[in-house]
C-alpha cells in the first residue's frame, strides 16, 4: 500500500490548459473521491496518476517514488474503467489472468490468484464465460477482479458505476466500499455523481474547470462549503440561493432580498453593510411558519418521494426547493410561509463566490 502525492500538477492539451497547479495528497489506505461536472479534469488527473496521460508540469509520486516518467506497468496500480474495457476475446479467467501472464508468473500461482479474486467477488461460476455473456453488474465485477487479482498498491476507478442502472449502482457502491474496507488499498475514485462521492468517500475533492475548489470529508463539504460552486454541487436537491444585500445595524445582521424581504442571519458574519451577498440554505433548513410568520412562498410543484416531500416554490422572487420530512396537505398555487433556520444559513460574497459565513449551528 502507498500514499500518493500530487505537487503543482499541470496538464495542457495543445493550447488548452485542463489542470491548473493541482496539489493533493492521498493518504495510505484512503478512499479519495474526485468529483466535479464533466470537463472539470477529474478523469485526466486520474489518467495522469495511472500513467495514461503525460504530466505537463509538476510531480506525481506513488509510495514516495516520483512516477512522472514511469510507464503504467511500473507504477503498481490497477484501474477500473467506465465501460470496463474487458477484452472481448478472452474469458473471465483469461481477462483476470492477463496481467499475471504478462509478468510470467508460474501457471499454478496464476490459477490460484485468479480463483482467490473470483471467490471474493462471487465470480466462480462465470470464470469460463466471455464478457458478452455477462450482465452489466457481472462485467463490473470482473473489471474489479482484474484489478484486485495482482494486489496493487493503488486502485484507480474511472466512473465505474455510470453504466449501471440505479438499483445496481447502489448495490455496487456498497460492494466497492466493503471491498475497500477489507483490502485497505489506497483508492482514487472519479465520479460526476455527488451522491456516489458523499456515500463512498473518506475525503472528497471537488474539481471545477481544472482547479480544486475544496477538499474535505463528505459532511465537512456539506456543512461548510468554501464557495458557491461547492455549495451548489454537493447535496441533492441542491442548496437554495437568494441574492440580496447584507445589512448591519448595531449587532443585528440580516439580508435584504431583491424584493425587499428581510431574511434572518445568525451571529455576526464577515462582510460590510451594503455588500452584495448570496443568501443560501439547504432545502431541509426551512421551517413551515404559521400564516403571516415567515416569508410567503407560492407553491409551483410538489414532489412526494415517499420518505419526504419536495416543494418547489417562489421565494423572494427566486425558485427554491424545500424538503419536509412530513407529508403536507398543500397544493400547487397555494401560498405557504417559510422561515429559513438561522443555524443553516450560509452567506457567500456575490462578487467572488467565497464564503462569508457558514451556518453557526453546523
Amino acid at each position: 500500500m502507498a500514499s500518493i502525492e500530487i505537487r503543482a500538477v499541470n496538464k495542457a492539451f495543445g493550447p488548452t490548459q485542463v489542470l491548473h497547479d493541482v496539489d493533493l495528497e492521498v493518504a495510505n489506505g484512503e478512499f479519495l473521491v474526485l468529483v466535479g461536472p464533466s470537463g472539470c479534469g477529474k478523469s485526466t488527473l486520474l489518467r495522469m496518476i495511472a500513467g495514461l496521460e503525460e504530466v505537463s508540469g509538476g510531480e506525481i509520486s506513488i509510495g514516495g517514488r516520483v512516477v512522472n516518467d514511469l510507464p503504467p506497468k511500473n507504477r503498481d496500480i490497477a484501474m477500473v474503467f467506465q465501460n470496463y474495457a474487458l477484452y472481448p476475446h478472452m474469458t473471465v479467467r483469461e481477462n483476470m489472468a492477463f496481467s499475471l501472464k504478462l509478468r510470467r508468473e508460474p501457471k499454478p500461482q496464476i490459477a490460484r490468484q485468479v480463483e482467490d479474486a473470483a471467490e471474493v467477488l462471487n465470480l466462480m461460476p462465470f470464470l469460463d464465460r466471455y464478457p458478452r455473456q455477462l450482465s452489466g453488474g457481472q462485467r463490473q465485477r470482473v473489471a474489479m477482479g482484474r484489478a484486485i487479482v495482482r494486489n496493487p498498491q493503488v486502485f484507480l476507478f474511472d466512473e465505474p458505476l455510470s453504466n449501471l442502472d440505479a438499483k445496481l449502482r447502489v448495490q455496487m457502491r456498497v460492494e466497492i466500499r466493503s471491498l475497500h474496507q477489507r483490502l485497505h488499498a489506497t483508492s482514487v475514485y472519479v465520479t460526476h455523481d455527488q451522491i456516489e462521492a458523499m456515500t463512498m468517500a473518506d475525503r472528497i475533492v471537488v474539481l471545477h474547470e481544472g482547479r480544486i475548489e475544496q477538499v474535505g470529508s463528505p459532511l465537512d463539504l456539506y456543512d461548510h462549503p468554501a464557495n458557491l460552486f461547492v455549495a451548489g454541487f454537493i447535496g441533492s436537491p441542491s442548496m437554495n440561493f437568494v441574492r440580496g444585500v447584507l445589512r448591519a445595524r448595531d449587532d443585528t445582521h440580516w439580508v435584504e432580498a431583491g424584493d425587499g424581504t428581510a431574511l434572518p442571519v445568525g451571529g455576526s458574519p464577515q462582510g460590510r453593510d451594503g455588500q452584495e451577498v448570496v443568501y443560501s440554505f439547504r432545502p431541509e433548513h426551512l421551517e413551515l411558519g404559521a400564516t403571516g410568520g415567515g416569508v410567503p412562498a407560492k407553491i409551483q410543484v410538489i414532489e412526494p418521494t415517499g420518505a419526504d416531500t419536495h416543494v418547489f416554490c417562489e421565494f423572494c422572487g427566486t425558485q427554491i426547493c424545500a424538503v419536509f420530512g412530513e407529508r403536507l396537505s398543500v397544493r400547487p398555487g397555494e401560498t405557504i410561509f417559510l422561515q429559513p433556520k438561522v443555524a443553516g444559513v450560509h452567506l457567500f460574497d456575490a462578487a467572488n463566490g467565497k464564503v462569508l459565513t457558514n451556518g453557526i449551528g453546523n
Binding site: G51, L52, K73, F98, L102
Partner: protein, 307 residues
C-alpha cells in the same frame, strides 16, 4: 373493464399491430425489388445459363447441343486446363500471402499519428484508383528489357531480366502487380478494423503491463480476426478472378506461364468459340471459389461466433 371487453381490446390491438408490421414489410419489399430485378436479369440469369451451357456443346453459331457431363470429363484430361488451374493456384497463393502482413503492417503504421500520414495514405492508395488496363500498360513499359526496373537493377550490377518474355519470371511479374494493387486496398480495410478497436482496451492493456508487441499480439490481432477473415476471403476471390492484367501484359504466355483460369475461359469462349467448355470451366472456378471461402470461414470461426 370487464374481462370480455379487455380481451376484445387486446385482439383489436394485436390486429392493428400486425397490420403495421405487414405494411412495413411490403414497403421493404418494394424498396429492394428494383435491385433484385436488376440482379436477377444481369447476374443470376446469366449464371444459370452458364450452368446450362456447361452441359452442352455450343459454338455461338449453331444452337447448343446437350451432351451431359462430357465437358467436365474432358477437362479432367486436358493438360492445358490442368496447367492453367496450376497457374491460377500459384497466383492465388503467392499474391494473397504477402498482402496480409504488408497491408496490416501499413495499416498499423498509418493508424498512428504521423505528420506525413495523409499525404502518404493518398499516395499509397493510388494503385487502387488506377484502372487495371492503364496499370497493366504502364507496368509493361516498366518491365521491358530497357525499362525502369532493369535500369534500377543495373545500378546494383544486376543483369537485365526478361521479365515478361521468360516463362520463369512472367508469373512473378504478374503476381508482383497483384500484390502492389491489393495491398493498399486491404490496408484501408485493416485501418477501418483497427479504428473500430476501442482505445480503452489498449489503456487497460498498458495498465496490465503490456508493451507494444504484447498489445499487438494479445489485443490487436485477436480483435482483427473478423477483418482478417474478410480480407483473406475477398483477396482470394479477387485473385482467382484476375484477368485484365495477364490479358494485356502477356496474353497468357510465354509458354502458358501466365494463363490463369479466367483468361483461359475467355480464350476458350471467344477465341476458340467453345462456349460449352468455357462454361464448364466457369462452373469449376465457381465451385472452387465457394469451397475456398467456405473452408476459410470455418477455419476462422472455429468454436466461436463472429463478433
Amino acid at each position: 373493464m370487464s374481462s370480455t371487453a379487455y380481451a376484445e381490446h387486446r385482439t383489436v390491438k394485436r390486429r392493428m399491430r400486425l397490420g403495421l408490421a405487414s405494411k412495413q414489410a411490403l414497403f421493404a419489399y418494394a424498396i429492394i425489388l428494383p435491385t433484385l430485378a436488376i440482379l436477377a436479369i444481369f447476374r443470376f440469369l446469366p449464371m444459370l445459363e452458364a450452368f446450362y451451357f456447361s452441359l452442352t456443346q455450343y459454338d455461338l453459331v449453331h444452337p447448343p447441343k446437350f451432351i451431359g457431363l462430357a465437358n467436365f470429363v474432358d477437362l479432367m484430361g486436358d493438360p492445358l486446363f490442368l496447367k492453367s488451374a496450376r497457374v491460377s493456384i500459384a497466383y492465388v497463393v503467392f499474391s494473397v500471402i504477402p498482402v496480409l502482413p504488408l497491408s496490416l503492417g501499413l495499416a498499423v503504421l498509418f493508424n498512428r499519428s504521423l505528420w506525413i500520414k495523409n499525404f502518404l495514405r493518398s499516395a499509397i492508395f493510388m494503385p487502387v484508383v488506377m484502372p487495371a488496363v492503364v496499370m497493366a500498360v504502364v507496368w509493361t513499359f516498366m518491365y521491358q528489357q530497357d525499362g525502369v526496373i532493369n535500369t534500377i537493377l543495373g545500378w546494383f550490377g544486376i543483369d537485365p531480366i526478361a521479365w515478361l518474355r521468360s516463362s520463369a519470371s512472367a508469373l512473378w511479374a504478374v503476381i508482383l502487380i497483384g500484390i502492389w494493387r491489393a495491398t493498399p486496398y486491404y490496408m484501408v480495410i485493416f485501418l477501418a478494423g483497427l479504428q473500430a478497436i476501442p482505445a480503452d482496451y489498449y489503456d487497460a492493456a498498458k495498465i496490465d503491463g503490456a508493451g507494444g508487441w504484447a498489445s499487438f499480439w494479445h489485443i490487436t490481432l485477436p480483435l482483427l480476426k473478423p477483418t482478417t477473415l474478410l480480407v483473406v476471403v475477398m483477396n482470394v476471390i479477387v485473385a482467382m478472378k484476375v484477368f485484365a492484367v495477364p490479358l494485356i501484359m502477356t496474353n497468357g504466355g510465354p509458354a502458358d506461364a501466365t494463363r490463369v483460369l479466367p483468361l483461359f475461359i475467355y480464350q476458350t469462349a471467344f477465341e476458340f468459340f467453345d462456349m460449352g467448355r468455357a462454361a464448364a470451366m466457369s462452373v469449376f472456378l465457381f465451385v472452387a471459389v465457394m469451397l475456398f471461402s467456405f473452408v476459410q470461414v470455418r477455419m476462422f470461426t472455429r468454436g466461436e461466433e463472429l463478433r
